[in-house]
């Protein structure tokens, strides 16, 4: 469903008392095949299953807090309720907007700093999911050498990295892990430079790594290309990248670390609709399927799920606590 599809609803909804759901993206926007897309998937599910009007708005690279304030405010003013802000960058803006619209329910993804009665913080245990795919990588690796590519060296992405490394070491304490970030903040270009993603992945494969986990938004597509060309393993992130890979790439997608932003978005909207808004932290972990690994390529995974599900159990039960940083 494209943007055109909801034009009529948005415009015609003014008179009726329909619920309208607004969503503001972080830089990168819809179609990054990972984080933002996952949010969009959730929104689509809201649209199709809950039959609500939805509106999603993109951010502009390099914009200031005021733009974000304005965006959230416009959504709130135009009758969108609830409103979801995708990404920690919205924290400052939401902190200023939320008090002005006490009747609007807000949610922010990946941030835990706002303390307002009408704001829900949707947080993910990326380290847990990454731990599992790290274990998968170590198990799958024949060379004892694996790689991690981060899009931008932000604390959030580093959380993926530490979880991944911990998981890999759990399986094989001697494993060698190459880590590399495409760009350094405040340059967020690393999330959308597939060319560099590809070059880095090639480098890792050339130097002996046979599994690479890429947490880099759209740059991951470049990494996947490199995996297919080198006929080595690729691990995706956020969404199930097996589903969006091309036919020749699919065999090389080992698994993806799922960050169920879609579930979070859907559940949040549904909860608000049912009058069950909860302010404050809502943690999405392995326990509540907020993070997970995908099993859409069973041929590749082979007997890995047994090990991984066991680890998952141990994490859920608290026996293992993957590090956060």
């Amino acid at each position: 469903g494209g943007k055109k599809a909801n034009t009529g609803g948005g415009g015609g909804g003014e008179g009726k008392k329909t619920v309208k759901v607004g969503l503001a993206y972080d830089v990168g926007g819809r179609g990054d095949k990972s984080f933002n897309d996952a949010a969009y998937a959730g929104l689509q599910k809201v649209q199709s299953e809950l039959k609500l009007d939805v509106k999603d708005i993109e951010a502009k690279e390099g914009e200031s807090d005021n733009d974000k304030i304005q965006r959230l405010q416009l959504l709130a003013q135009s009758g969108y309720n609830p409103v979801i802000a995708v990404g920690f960058a919205y924290a400052g803006a939401l902190g200023k907007v939320a008090p002005k619209f006490p009747n609007v329910k807000f949610a922010i993804i990946d941030d835990d700093t706002i303390q307002q009665p009408n704001v829900a913080d949707l947080l993910f245990a990326e380290n847990q999911g990454s731990y599992l795919v790290g274990a998968a990588a170590a198990k799958k690796s024949k060379t004892g050498h694996i790689g991690f590519i981060g899009g931008v060296a932000t604390p959030l992405i580093k959380k993926f990295e530490v979880g991944y490394i911990a998981g890999a070491k759990k399986v094989n304490p001697n494993i060698k892990v190459d880590s590399k970030y495409i760009s350094q903040p405040p340059d967020f270009g690393g999330f959308k430079d597939p060319a560099k993603g590809k070059t880095i992945a090639q480098g890792m494969y050339d130097q002996g790594a046979d599994v690479v986990y890429t947490a880099a938004g759209l740059s991951g597509t470049g990494s996947l290309q490199a995996a297919a060309a080198a006929k080595k393993w690729f691990i995706g992130v956020d969404s199930d990248q097996y589903l969006t890979a091309t036919a020749d790439e699919k065999p090389y997608v080992l698994t993806s670390m799922l960050k169920r932003v879609d579930t979070a978005v859907f559940n949040f909207v549904k909860g608000v609709g049912e009058g069950q808004f909860q302010k404050g932290d809502q943690r999405f972990t392995l326990q509540n399927d907020g993070v997970d690994y995908s099993k859409s390529n069973p041929t590749a995974l082979g007997d890995l799920p047994a090990t991984l599900d066991d680890l998952k159990q141990q994490i859920v039960s608290g026996k293992i606590t993957p590090p956060e940083k």
């Binding site: 034009t7 390099g62 941030d111």
Partner: protein, 366 residues
């Protein structure tokens, strides 16, 4: 009357700007129509939204950063130096100034001044690298400032780590410098009907503009700078030390660039973090050119630019891609130069005709 008007250079500029604006609106309308949108209602929506109090505040705030950035670019342009590095200069400056402001507790008044001075010094120093490379090694400032933008990003990344200048905030995935305490903040100015505040340091932009105008038009130094820009060879023959001028102008440009982030830093965010705005340096190039490197022209240009950026936000709610304003902006920029060129040529011709007429010569200069 028209001839009288054209004789005045500011009148030429105003006429050119108005004609260009009309032209840009026409181009935008055509694009909108082709894409199946209704131009009048689009402009109406933008205008209505743009004049809301909140929008006015945001427009002014945005314009203040654009203004300082364009001013920095204009200092270079006035002497044919092309400082593409304003972007890196202001980001590095804002980051180090924020770190300094957050780390030091100083009495109010002094605190703000110290932060601003640090920013200006850092911006100037970063630009100074390009200047030194140019005068000692002949490296084109175009290349060096492009490279320094990237390298500056690297330096910021290096410093903006919890091990160095950044402070980690629990629960946040952002990293930023330690927030500047209340003694270092600049209170905002209220605007009726809005609970957003106009940054207090909008006044800094105004001061910088006045300073620019005064220095360029009224001082010896400004004369030397303009002369170098108009004709470097003539300036050198007149006793201007061109190399020194390059260094001074570039450092000055960088110092003003350093101020770009100050209104927001001291008036809104109080800390430099990953979501601090980027790219204003590049916007500044366009605005400086639109404003013809003139402080008043740049003021109008940055307000127009900010207004377009601001009011376009409403378009997404009407399902019109807001990037249409980029087309408007580019069209204004291109057409203003063309129109100015035409108006100016007509004016110059009148000038010459006047010279000839008043000397009573039909044929040639005797």
């Amino acid at each position: 009357m028209i001839s009288n008007l054209l004789a005045k250079s500011y009148a030429r500029t105003v006429i050119a700007a108005l004609v260009a604006l009309v032209f840009a609106v026409v181009v935008t309308s055509i694009v909108l129509s082709i894409s199946g949108f209704n131009p009048p209602s689009t402009f109406q929506a933008m205008f209505d939204f743009g004049k809301e109090p909140d929008s006015v505040v945001n427009t002014v705030n945005r314009a203040s950063a654009y203004y300082l950035s364009a001013l920095a670019v204009a200092i270079g342009f006035r002497m044919n130096l092309f400082n593409i590095g304003v972007d890196g200069q202001y980001r590095l400056a804002a980051m180090l100034a924020a770190a300094a402001g957050g780390a030091w507790a100083l009495p109010a008044g002094l605190h703000q001044i110290v932060v601003i001075v640090v920013a200006a010094v850092v911006g100037g120093a970063w630009a100074g690298i390009a200047a030194i490379l140019k005068v000692t090694r002949g490296v084109s400032e175009v290349i060096s400032t492009i490279m320094l933008n990237f390298i500056g990003t690297g330096v910021i990344a290096f410093l903006l780590s919890p091990d160095r200048l950044a402070a980690k905030v629990a629960g946040s995935n952002n990293v930023g410098t330690k927030p500047i305490g209340s003694s270092g903040r600049v209170p905002g100015i209220s605007y009726p009907g809005s609970d957003l505040k106009i940054y207090g340091l909008v006044l800094l932009a105004v001061l910088a503009g006045l300073g620019f105008w005064f220095v360029i038009n009224r001082t010896r130094f400004g004369f030397d700078l303009r002369a170098t820009g108009l004709s470097e060879s003539a300036a050198v023959a007149s006793g201007v030390d061109a190399k020194r001028m390059v260094v001074i102008a570039m450092v000055l440009s960088g110092a003003v660039a350093g101020l770009v982030g100050m209104p927001q830093l001291l008036g809104g965010s109080y800390s430099y973090s990953l979501d601090f705005p980027t790219g204003i340096g590049f916007t500044g190039i366009g605005i400086a050119l639109l404003g013809r490197n003139n402080p008043v022209g740049i003021a109008f240009a940055s307000l127009l630019w900010a207004f377009l950026d601001q009011s376009s936000q409403i378009l997404e709610f009407n399902d019109i891609p807001k990037e249409i304003v980029a087309i408007t902006q580019a069209a204004v920029l291109l057409s203003v130069v063309v129109v100015y060129e035409i108006v100016n040529r007509v004016g110059r011709r009148m000038d010459q005709r006047r010279v000839a007429a008043e000397l009573g010569e039909v044929g040639v200069a005797a």
